[in-house]
């Protein structure tokens, strides 16, 4: 704390960071929020690719449980003896797939990337409140990803108790090979990740509250910022509880305590008899994080989508205040509904009723959000570019996945649906696909801001159509498997005659998953190719109102070359009647409007100093070269 504050105070005394930047300070230990966001994004994409490849491996296993794939022996070694995946490694794969996707891709990769990029730019700040803590946040995240991946190479394999790591399975190394060193690494990695998440979230909250530019009232913030603010608050309040919970689990595993263990004989539990705890306690502590975590994933995606839909529909977002209200309602309610993951885990049935009530209430703000999106599309002028398509795809997944949530939130119905493929289908639609779509939609939209170049549109469109079709093909049929009572986390269904009817469906799902996987490679190609070879971006390529598009294309440490522009209006003035253009940036005052802070009449936009731009490519290249060589 002290070091950080001292540092940032020092920085305030300097000018806009025009001090010397070396390669290390610019690209590695960068304290510039834009560079940190790129670091988050690229780490997230790498982790996402790994997670996706894992899912393809176990999809192959599920589709052809009896067939041997020599390639598995090549890449997995002892875990793929004879070309077949070891059942223990299958469980490890699903565990690590879940963990990577939930925490490393959709929490850090999505919220970390876009909170870092957009919060300072959209509220009009030079940087985060504490750039130093921000940098630490990334490097803690990086460390935790390395730890998580390194658990793939330890004796006994990585953690394999499912991403929810319920003890005793995760606490007893004898129960499953993955509960040895792999599980320890998982817990250590998660604790480091929690630290990273807290450092980031505290920074986001302080920036949004304290660092807004003049005129940027709370009610003038774009919905993205609202979403990020509440995501950060959710993280701040829920991650510590997982921290406490996993601390106790570490003690149970390594120091012979028994907080989560009861009536475990000594021979199973490393020579010490365990009496007195309760596994349910861990589940409560875990899901106190786990459920807000779902919204930590989903809210940023919804925020990005709100912005993208409004911009590309050329229409103000419908019901701005209702949207903020529903974000708040979702955030608040998410803390009191975690028990719906535990209806049949031996929890008090009375508490089941309480949680069921809360859970189904969450559907109301979600419905409001959906209808408001539809209201925004209505009579709009939709530019169907890739980001808009992905945003529409998100709304579609949000509806499909949200509606199946109504089944699962119902305690009675959960009796037969708990831990079946219905659950898998539900959360892959609503927080897997929907959040990934939100993330990709954000990448397409803000790529020009991040890298100064445009992504290829056609590839984006192909990516979109392949992805949405394959995602629906993968996850929709799973509902029916779940309704037939097929449990999740099964290595094979060969032991059950009644599940034979699903052999073909499993193959179909796997083919669809492979198509989806290849589609992601199109995206990866597009992403990395455009980063270096894409078309040069103009300053405001999507004709958007928000403040980030008023910064120059070439990145400055400090964002704006001169004074930070002031804000005079809300961010959704699209297609205002009586204006010749269909967008009015937030920094444009109306004729005769007073500057809310200086109390002086402001000059109309046309007469004001033009937004500073560096239009000539030569100028951009020259200044870039100068910065790289260390002259500037």
């Amino acid at each position: 704390m002290s070091a950080a504050a001292i540092h940032s105070d020092d920085q305030h005394h300097g000018d806009h960071g025009h001090h010397k930047e070396t390669f290390i300070s610019k690209y590695i230990f960068s304290m510039d929020h834009k560079m940190i966001s790129k670091q988050f994004l690229i780490t997230g994409i790498i982790m996402g690719t790994i997670g996706m490849l894992m899912s393809l491996i176990f999809r192959l296993q599920l589709a052809y449980p009896e067939t041997s794939f020599p390639i598995f022996e090549t890449i997995l070694g002892e875990w793929g003896k004879g070309g077949k995946i070891d059942p223990n490694f299958y469980l490890a794969l699903i565990t690590i797939h879940g963990t990577i996707m939930v925490f490393f891709v959709l929490t850090a990769g999505l919220s970390g990337t876009f909170s870092n990029l957009l919060i300072p730019l959209q509220v009009g700040a030079r940087d985060m409140a504490s750039p130093f803590l921000n940098m630490l946040s990334y490097w803690f995240f990086f460390t935790s990803s390395v730890l998580m991946l390194s658990s793939l190479f330890v004796q006994g394999g990585p953690a394999s108790a499912g991403w929810t790591i319920y003890p005793p399975l995760s606490a007893l190394p004898k129960a499953i090979p993955g509960s040895g060193t792999g599980m320890t690494l998982w817990l250590v990695s998660m604790i480091v990740f929690i630290v990273s998440s807290l450092l980031g979230s505290i920074n986001y909250v302080a920036t949004v509250i304290n660092m807004r530019t003049k005129g940027m009232k709370m009610t003038r913030m774009p919905l993205t910022i609202w979403a990020f603010l509440f995501t950060a608050i959710l993280g701040i309040l829920s991650f510590p509880v997982l921290f406490g919970g996993s601390l106790l689990l570490v003690f149970d595993r390594s120091f012979g305590t028994s907080f989560y263990l009861n009536e475990i004989p000594a021979d199973l539990a490393g020579g010490i008899e365990r009496v007195g705890g309760s596994p349910i306690l861990f589940q409560h502590l875990f899901w106190f994080l786990g459920h807000p975590e779902v919204y930590i994933i989903l809210l940023p995606a919804l925020g990005l989508t709100s912005e993208v839909i409004a911009t590309n529909a050329r229409k103000p977002i419908f019901g701005y205040r209702a949207m903020i209200g529903s974000i708040m309602a979702i955030a608040l309610l998410s803390f009191i509904v975690w028990g719906h993951h535990m209806f049949i885990t031996g929890m008090n049935p009375f508490l089941g009723s309480v949680f069921m009530l809360g859970t189904l209430i969450i559907a109301v703000p979600s419905a409001v959000k959906t209808f408001n999106y539809l209201g925004t599309l209505w009579k709009g002028n939709l530019r169907l570019n890739p980001q808009m398509m992905f945003a529409i795809g998100l709304v579609s997944f949000f509806i499909s996945g949200g509606l199946t949530g109504i089944f699962l939130g119902n305690a009675a119905l959960d009796i037969n649906l708990h831990d079946t493929y219905f659950v898998v289908a539900h959360f892959h639609l609503v927080m897997g696909s929907a959040a990934i779509f939100g993330m990709i939609c954000g990448i397409y939209h803000w790529f020009p801001k991040m890298f100064g170049r445009m992504m290829n549109e056609s590839l984006g469109q192909i990516h979109f159509w392949l992805t949405i079709v394959s995602a629906y093909c993968v996850f929709f049929p799973m509902h029916f498997m779940g309704l037939a009572g097929v449990p999740r986390r099964y290595y094979a269904f060969t032991a059950y005659d009644q599940f034979n009817v699903f052999v073909d469906m499993n193959k179909f799902i796997t083919y669809a998953a492979f198509v989806g996987g290849i589609a992601q490679f199109i995206f990866l190609f597009n992403f990395f190719y455009s980063m270096f070879k894409g078309k040069k971006a103009v300053q405001n390529p999507w004709e958007s109102n928000t403040m980030e598009w008023t910064t120059p294309v070439e990145h400055l440490h400090g964002n704006w070359p001169g004074e930070i522009p002031h804000v005079y209006r809300w961010p959704y003035d699209y297609s205002v009647p009586g204006h010749d253009k269909d967008f009015i940036p937030q920094i444009t005052p109306d004729y005769g409007q007073t500057d809310p802070l200086t109390e002086a009449k402001v000059v109309p936009a046309e007469d004001r100093k033009k937004i500073p731009t560096l239009e000539k490519e030569e100028a951009v290249l020259f200044s870039l070269a100068k910065r790289w060589l260390g002259f500037a």
């Binding site: 031996g346 559907a363 209201g375 570019n385 529409i392 056609s458 290595y491 597009n526």
Partner: protein, 381 residues
């Protein structure tokens, strides 16, 4: 333009070289490895992967060139706005058809088309169908609107979008209507839930289901309908369940590896686990409860159809009820199951007599009821 052409042909050339060399390489591999069929399969896999990556690369290049051409010619080569609008419509129609097809064809595979096998299954199915209809209607309507709007309001340079930031009445409407619908669901759901979780029958038959890695046991409470005490310290190879036959109520207990239950009689299942959390899932009876070590859990239900009746109804002579493990518990989780057989009362009585009780002595009459001692779950007595 000239620059572009050079670049494009250069890229294509590289692609061609790569592709041809790869195919030659692949041919070599296949001829060489004719004797080792197994490694061929591996090489073909690699080949497929290589070709797929190459295809992605080529497609990427083509579209990159196309867009660059478009930039030079100052017009769009492909008008994605229009294409997407039509594709959205196609997606909507095909998707809805697929949705209907799934509901009809795959819907038949679900449990809900089977005759209900327990007393509360009808109530459950009823609740499910109400939820399905309500959500189904919302699903169809919202998706039609979503993709119809995408088609209808595609960009038209001449048109300007309607400035319509909010409408409080409309927003209130679509807050209150979902709230109302959900109230119905909540109220009904609470009724069904409390029906299912409160045991109605005092004379229910107490059976203990014991889960361990990776099998199940059942313990019948015998004539006294009371399960004997257990001690987890005694759980071992000889005495897997840790039940001491000399203890109170334990003598007449019967331990089996199959779960036989009499039809039309309330069954009170007590669950106990040895090592990790399992979940006893009886899909046909709409019954499930986690089996937690050190935390007694329970579930009660009344089967209404015997296995034989069900076989006749389904015209499937191989049909069996099952109890399967539904909570990740280790490497053989996927085949941890127990056969469940619903018998008529007469058949059940006959079967249970054939099973050996823990001791022949019968019930110990030790009525000392220590307040704090660890006792096995016994139904409210």
């Amino acid at each position: 333009m000239k620059h572009l052409k050079i670049k494009a042909s250069f890229v294509l050339m590289i692609a061609m070289i790569l592709f041809s060399s790869l195919s030659v390489f692949a041919q070599d591999m296949t001829t060489d490895a004719a004797e080792a069929a197994k490694s061929t399969a591996s090489n073909i896999n690699w080949l497929i992967a290589g070709i797929a990556i190459l295809l992605v690369f080529i497609i990427g290049m083509i579209f990159d060139i196309l867009s660059k051409v478009g930039d030079v010619q100052k017009k769009q080569v492909i008008n994605w706005g229009k294409i997407n609008a039509y594709l959205a419509l196609v997606f909507l129609i095909v998707g809805m058809a697929a949705f209907a097809w799934e509901m009809v064809v795959h819907g038949k595979l679900t449990l809900f088309t089977l005759p209900s096998a327990s007393a509360h299954a009808d109530e459950y199915d009823n609740m499910f169908m109400i939820t399905l209809w309500l959500t189904g209607i919302v699903f169809v309507i919202t998706h039609i609107l979503l993709f119809w709007y995408t088609y209808k309001y595609k960009e038209d340079k001449k048109r300007k979008a309607l400035f319509y930031p909010d409408n409080h009445k409309l927003e209130l409407l679509w807050t209150i209507v979902p709230a109302f619908v959900l109230t119905i669901l909540v109220v009904r759901g609470l009724i069904v839930w409390s029906d299912m979780t409160t045991s109605k029958d005092k004379d229910a038959m107490n059976i203990e289901v014991f889960g361990y890695q990776f099998a199940w046991n059942a313990r019948y409470s015998g004539a006294d309908n009371k399960l004997g005490k257990y001690d987890f310290r005694q759980m071992g190879i000889v005495n897997a369940l840790g039940v001491d036959s000399t203890k109170e109520f334990a003598g007449d207990d019967v331990i089996t590896t199959e779960l036989h239950i009499p039809v039309n009689k309330a069954i009170y299942l007590h669950f106990r686990a040895k090592d990790v959390i399992h979940s006893a899932y009886l899909p046909h009876f709409r019954a499930q409860m986690n089996v937690v070590p050190g935390l007694p859990t329970k579930f009660d239900f009344t089967p209404t159809l015997t296995t034989n009746e069900m076989r006749v109804k389904l015209e499937n002579p191989n049909f069996d009820y099952i109890l399967l493990c539904n909570k990740i518990c280790g490497s053989a989780h996927y085949r941890m199951k127990m056969k469940v057989i619903v018998d008529t009362q007469a058949d059940f009585d006959k079967w249970i007599k054939e099973q050996p009780a823990l001791t022949a002595k019968g019930t110990e009459t030790n009525s000392l009821h220590s307040f704090l001692s660890k006792e096995n779950p016994i139904a409210s007595n």
